[in-house]
Every structure is written in structure tokens, then in C-alpha cells.
Symmetry: C2
Subunit: 225 residues, 2 copies
DNA sequence: TGTACATCAGTGAACGCGCGTTCACTGATGTAC
DNA sequence: TGTACATCAGTGAACGCGCGTTCACTGATGTAC
């Protein structure tokens, strides 16, 4: 962390004992290190000893801040999910057009999906981690601060589409799950799944097919089956 | 494997050395044990030593049949994918109605999706394993024997829908990826993902919403975006 | 403002575990003559 | 049909590794009087 000269080793060893960092720095450091590990290798790569190493702290020091490895992992996963939410919020925030404008609403939905896919592609480790949280899942549990969780962002855009008349009221209920499933499935299949080795050309065609699929599903009334 | 009496231990120990099993039995046993491990705990649970233990063989004996743990895992994953394909083929085979009948074609598509979801729900470990194959993926590589791979089964039903006039020709290209993404995403989200703790009622509503979403996307022409 | 003391947050050493993998071996199997 | 021998498929022992986690400790921090 600090630059050590040839004589610095002893200084570090001397100063190393006891508490030297400001309050909360070690906990934050462990969480940040865990996030870096997840970024590089997914949730399985979040190794407590390695996070402690990166923080410059002895492994068992982590137990002052987390009950066990699972608790650290949960914090990392939540951070990964927040990063996804931030990417989506940023993308949708860049779309021009007043609220209620049908064309703008469509663009916002598209931006949301695009951001989701881009995150999965750019950060496969974080994407996997975001959905790999151990035991109970706090996916919707936005604590007020920060961006709303992905599902809420999607709901907001769909509500706007319904108000704008692009999406018929009758079809609105449950639509967020259908679209979420579609985009999430595409992300999983093309990033970690069987379609991960698709060349760029076919990959783009697949993505276009999925976009058309979603677009064409917005306006029409449901048909009897 | 064989029932050992109190005096059987020595017999087993005596007979244990050297090769006793019929040709290929150990390899098959390891693969079957690996599949059982994947069934119970997903791809990460496919542990070479444990598979050897279950087969009644010393751990390093596995290296006579597989180059390393990854090769065993690949075999297990392929078997898991074959089980998914078999479930889908069985489900679609039970649908009555001659080829080309529009209503029957729709039922076949629905049966396909239903089987996919049911497999993910009944066998979460195998489902995860099927999509966790290390390095290059042989998803489409049907070797002639057995059922066609899932994607081909889906293509066949969509072709039938197109011929029956249910799915307009213009929308047919790429549709298999859109539907696959949707169903796969739903499976992942509700089985391992953030929706895994949904009570039965809401879960059924979500599934119904996704079904409606797919149904309503078959017939309509694409709209300009 | 100064001192006594509880608490907090780190260190150092060690534990047991189970894993994948390698080595030298040996006995049964199956083939060539 | 019988024998010599190469190959195959197992055994037994061991390796090094890195992990999560526990223990007893110690020194700095911050609080009560």
C-alpha cells in the first residue's frame, strides 16, 4: 500500500502490529478485494484468504468484520447487483425524450435491455456473482440509497409504455417477468452458455431476433390459446 | 455392489486386486457416479475422488479412463444435456395431433417449453451441469444416436408452426433463439436465481405471463421500431 | 486536563480437510507363434 | 491346443496445495471519572 524503501520492511513490521487503518477501512478493503475477485473470476473466486491478502491483513482478521466467508460473499454479490443497477440507470438516463412520449419509452426499454446485456458481456464475473448470492436474495430490497433495483427499473419503463399507449393495459401485468426472462436468458446463453463461442456476426443476428421478439410483443392483445 | 457377508470382506480384499469388472464397467461406473453427484449438487459437486469411491475403485484408477477431472465433467455434462433432450422429446411425443395441424403445433411448442422448465425444476443440479460444460460446447453436436439436441427440437416445432401458418414466414428466422432465451431465462431465474423463493401462486402467474408472452409473439408481423 | 481501564481490531500459529494428480508396482487379460 | 509375452487396468502410498476457521495473544483506541 505505502511505498517501502529497502529499510521500509522493518518499519512495516513494526508498524504492522495493532490497528493502523482508519475506521472501517479494513472492512471496505475486504469488500473491495472480494468484488475485484468476483470481477475476475465470478463468485467462486471470492476467496476469503485472498481478499485478506489483497487488503494487507492476516486472514483471520476478516472475522472481525464478517461472520464467515458466506457473509463476505453476500456483500460482494449485493455490490455486483448494485453495479448492474447503476449501469441500467445510467443508460436509461441518457435517453432523450419527455416522460410519456411513446417513442422515447420504447427507447428506454431498449436501453435497459442493452445495458443488461452489455454488463453481462463486459463483466461476466460480476454478472454471475450478482445472481449467485447465497441463501435469501435481496434482489428487490433497495435500501433507498442508490439506484432502484433492476426489476423496478424495468417496471417503471413498462408502466410508462402502458401510459403512453404502446403497451395495452391488458398485457401489462406480468410483462416485466417475461421481458426479464428473455433478456436474462439471452445474456446467460451468450455469455456463459452454449452460445458463448458464437462469432460476432451470428451473435448480432441472435440479439436482433430477440429485440424484434420483444418489440413485437408490446402492442398486440393476447390471443386465446 | 455385491452383498458381502461377515466373511466377505476378506474375499473382497482378495478379489479386489487386479481387474475384476467387465470391460468398460469402471468407466461407465465413474460416469454414472459423476452424473449422480451432478444431480445432487450441480457441476461443482462432480468430484473425481468421490466418483471413484462410489465406483468402488481407488481414486487414481480414474486416470485410466479420463485424462483429468475436466474430461469426466465434460462427459457428465453431456449426459445431463442428453437427459434434458430426452425429456423434451418424450413430452413432445405425447402430444396428439397430426403434423401440420396448427393447434397441435402450438401444443407441441408449449410441451417443449414445459418440459424444459420441469427439468430445470425437478433436476436443478443436472440442469446447471448441462450448461456448465468446460471449454468448447457440443450443444448441437448430436452424434446421430439418441434424441436430437434441444435447440433442434425447438427448430423443428417452429418450422411446423411456420408451415401451418401459425407463425408468419417473415418472423421465423431467429425465432428459436428468442424463445430459447425466454424459456431459459425463466428457468434460471426461478430455479437458481432471485425468483427461486417465490411462493407457488405468484410463480404460476409468472409462468403464465411468460407463456402468454410467447404465444402472442407467434402470429403478428414485426413492427418498425 | 490527566489517569485507569475496558474494548476493539489486529497478529501469529496452527488445525484438519479434501482435493487433483503422480509414481512405481502387480496381477490378470488377451494375443502371436 | 499350448505356451511366452506385451498390454491393460487396477492397487498402494504419497505429494503439495490452498482453503475456511479457531485459538490465545497484544497493543492501540477511546471512554469514565
Amino acid at each position: 500500500v505505502t511505498a517501502d524503501g529497502p529499510a521500509g520492511a522493518q518499519a512495516a513490521a513494526t508498524a504492522g502490529a495493532g490497528r493502523r487503518r482508519p475506521r472501517g477501512a479494513v472492512r471496505d478493503g475486504l469488500a473491495a478485494a472480494g468484488l475485484a475477485l468476483a470481477r475476475a473470476g465470478g463468485p467462486d473466486a471470492v476467496v476469503l484468504r485472498e481478499a485478506a491478502r489483497m487488503t494487507g491483513v492476516v486472514p483471520n482478521a476478516a472475522y472481525r468484520h464478517f461472520a464467515d466467508r458466506d457473509e463476505l460473499l453476500a456483500v460482494v454479490c449485493a455490490a455486483a447487483m448494485r453495479e448492474l443497477a447503476a449501469r441500467m440507470a445510467a443508460a436509461v438516463g441518457q435517453v432523450r425524450g419527455r416522460p410519456g412520449d411513446p417513442a422515447a419509452a420504447r427507447r428506454r426499454l431498449r436501453a435497459l435491455g442493452q445495458a443488461y446485456l452489455a454488463f453481462a458481456g463486459d463483466e461476466p464475473g460480476l454478472f454471475a456473482a450478482a445472481f449467485a448470492v447465497p441463501r435469501p436474495h435481496a434482489y428487490d430490497a433497495g435500501d433507498g440509497a442508490g439506484d432502484p433495483p433492476p426489476l423496478d427499473q424495468l417496471r417503471a419503463v413498462l408502466d410508462e409504455l402502458a401510459e403512453a399507449g404502446v403497451l395495452s393495459r391488458a398485457r401489462r401485468p406480468g410483462m416485466e417477468y417475461a421481458i426479464w426472462s428473455t433478456v436474462h436468458g439471452l445474456a446467460v446463453l451468450t455469455v456463459q452458455g452454449p452460445l458463448r463461442n458464437l462469432p460476432d456476426g451470428p451473435r448480432r443476428e441472435v440479439e436482433q431476433a430477440v429485440r424484434d421478439f420483444i418489440d413485437s410483443s408490446l402492442a398486440e392483445p393476447p390471443r386465446a390459446s
